[in-house]
Structure formats: structure tokens, C-alpha cells
Subunit: 202 residues, 2 copies
DNA sequence: ACAGCCATGTAACTTGTTACATGATTTT
DNA sequence: AAAATCATGTAACAAGTTACATGGCTGT
């Protein structure tokens, strides 16, 4: 929902045409998350379908301006006033992947961790290299870009810390090596699993 | 791709029927990411469409077993041997949201940060409370669940740190308050933006 | 003339997600 | 008998993403 909501929030500042929204989004997020132009138009049509924006006529230059509706403004206000909830969904692919890898016999979880850590540390170095030197007078754009960069850096650092943590924990339990075979076949339809949790050494 | 890939990785251990995959996935991820049963069957059909699994006949209990193909095994091997790349996509909704909030005049970015921090800290407390006491003998399932829990805790901690960082940086620049109006209208079609970046005080 | 950007749009597709229907079996 | 769980499936949809077509304008 972040693209859709972001475009709507920008439109809340005043009417924009499609291509302009792309520029505005890029300015505010440091062009770090590329946005295919086609997606802008898709999203605008879906927002119109949902009654959150209205399409205007093309002006003299051929620009099609879109205007937010009251329902749209309410949606933006609600977005900004309420936190992003990470309840059920929001699966971290790396976490899911390593949890599965660590519990499957025959899968080299250590290797998967090592591969991920290499990639994460490399990306972390790249991100840190992009951090500009502290300057006393920063433009609004500079600050916004710095915020996004810091978010990425902190997330990568947290992931690296977690990977070390995972590896250490796996090292403390070398005997059963975290392997968890499939639960034994169930004798009858409807019977609960009652898995024997075979401890297979990888 | 994490659900699809996880189911495929489990199938790489041996044939399973749909409902069984749900149990296996839940066991390995601590039931922390609920998986609607219907999604299992959708995903299996899509995997079959892509030639990664083959559907078997129902056995005496009516269980429909699915078997991974060679292409499927290769996909699993490739998944585990290569890191998850967070290059272009992988937008963090909170980061996008606050970057946009911080650059839009009339939006109270401080309030948005405060709301997010409350939610994040609350969730962090809940997650920490769920951390079981260190026990010398942990089952494979226990360890997997701990890994997932730690991933969530570290991500929440990183987010909290980042939120503090953002707020502090915004406080250091109170004059223009990060506000960035829409770029001025472009005089002609095809002209670049050349935004004046108006410094609007919120 | 040509490359490249500006600008709008369409069509198809992916993964994830939910709601619903259906029925068997097990437990209470 | 009723409730809960096991089990398979279908239909629809959401958000994001890409590839493509089309044309105007600008700078070299």
C-alpha cells in the first residue's frame, strides 16, 4: 500500500498529472525505490475506481491533472495519524527462508546464512559509502534522502546482527543440527500430526 | 516469494498433501505468520503450472500428494544457495511513509513518528515477553521459533532506533521543517522540473 | 537526423490473501 | 447431537510490476 498511499498523499497537496507524480515520489524518496511509470497510471485508475481521486480534463499542454476527493483526503489523514501495523502479514523473506532452511534436513543452513551475510554486509558497505558528510545546511530533499538511507542502513545492520545470532545459536546445538523431517504420515484422515520430530544429523 | 518457495522447499523433503504443508510450514515458522489454507492449494496449482511440482492421485484416505520435480528441486537449491537480494523492490512501508510525510507541508511528521514509535515499542514489548527463558535442551522447533522471534525483535529495535534518529534530525532543522511543496508547474510539455523547492514552515 | 526524455496509456502477469462451499471424521 | 478439526477446492480480488505502443518535444 505504500505506493498507492504515497501518491495519494502527494495529490493531497494539490492536483498533479501522472508523470509529475513520478518525479515527486522520486524526489521524496531519493530515487531509491524505482517506480515504473506505468504503475502510476494503473494506480491512479484504481484510486479513481475507489473514489479517492477524480480525473480532470487535459490542459493546454495535454497534461491530465488528477484531483484528490474528500474521501481521499480522509484516507491520507488516517494513514498519517495511525501507525503501520505489522501484525499478521509482513513476512520477512530472509527470516522465513532461514527458519525453513534451519529445520530441513539436507539443507546447509550455515551456507545459506553465510551467503546472506555476504550479501547483507556488501550492501551495508555500499549504503554507508553513500552517506554524505555532515553538512550544516541541508535542503529538505537532502534530509529526506538521508532518512531513507538511514532506514536501509539500520535494517541491514539489524539483519547482520540477527544472522550472527542465528549462526551462534546453531553452533550451540550441533548434535541435532536443527533438522526436522516431515512429520510422520498420519494413519487416518482427521488424525492430528503427533510428529516424532526425527533428529536427523546433517 | 517466501510462501511459494517455502512450500516447495518442504516438498523437496518428500511428497506432501496440501493440508500437511500447512502444518509443516507452521511448525517451522512458529505459527507466527498465519497461512490461509486456501493459499496452499492456489500455490500448489501455480507450482504445477510452472512445472515445479506434479500432482499425484489421491491415496486411500483421500489425501492428494504432491511431488516435487527436478526443476523444482533445482529451484529450491538455487534459493538456498543464493542470498535474498534487496535491490530495487522491498519498499519498507514505514520508511516510505515517513519520507513522504516529512517532505509534505501540512503533514505533522512528528505526530506520525510518535504514533509509529508507540506501536513499535508496544509490539517490541510483546515480542520480548514472548521470549522463553534460556533452556539447555531445546528442540529443533524451539530453536526455529526463537530465530523467528529474534528476527522480529531485532527489526523492531532497528525501527525504534531509526525513529529516534529521524526525530532528532528533524529537530535539528526546525526552520524549514522539512516541508517540500509540489514542484512549480512546468511551463511547457517536455521541460524538466527545476523545482524551486519552497521552504514552507509547517 | 537521431537519441533521449516527457507523457499517457494498455494488457498481462505475479504473489499474496480472503471468503466461501463442501464434506468427512473426531471429540465433547 | 453439536462443535471442532481435517481436508480439498473455487472464485475473486489487491497491490505491485513489467513490457509494450504511441507520440511530442528537445538537444546535439
Amino acid at each position: 500500500m505504500s505506493v498507492r498511499r504515497s501518491l495519494l498523499a502527494i495529490l493531497d497537496q494539490g492536483p498533479c498529472y501522472g508523470y509529475q507524480l513520478r518525479t515527486e515520489f522520486a524526489r521524496r524518496t531519493g530515487s531509491r525505490w524505482p517506480l515504473n511509470v506505468g504503475q502510476i497510471y494503473n494506480t491512479l485508475e484504481r484510486l479513481e475506481r475507489d473514489g479517492l481521486v477524480r480525473r480532470g480534463d487535459a490542459d493546454e499542454h495535454g497534461h491530465v491533472y488528477w484531483r484528490i476527493t474528500e474521501a481521499g483526503s480522509a484516507d491520507v489523514a488516517a494513514w498519517f495519524s495511525s501507525p503501520v501495523v505489522r501484525t499478521s502479514a509482513a513476512r520477512d523473506e530472509v527470516a522465513v527462508k532461514l527458519a525453513v532452511a534451519a529445520t530441513l534436513p539436507g539443507v546447509d543452513a550455515r551456507a545459506a546464512i553465510a551467503a546472506q551475510r555476504s550479501a547483507t554486509l556488501e550492501q551495508l558497505a555500499e549504503l554507508r559509502a553513500q552517506r554524505p558528510p555532515e553538512s550544516p545546511a541541508e535542503s529538505a530533499e537532502d534530509i529526506a534522502h538521508a532518512l531513507v538511507l538511514d532506514a536501509l542502513i539500520l535494517a541491514a545492520e539489524a539483519e547482520a546482527t540477527w544472522l550472527d545470532h542465528v549462526e551462534e545459536r546453531l553452533s550451540r546445538h550441533p548434535q541435532h543440527a536443527m533438522s526436522l523431517g516431515l512429520a510422520a504420515e498420519r494413519p487416518k484422515r482427521g488424525r492430528p500430526a503427533k510428529a516424532p520430530l526425527p533428529a536427523i544429523v546433517s
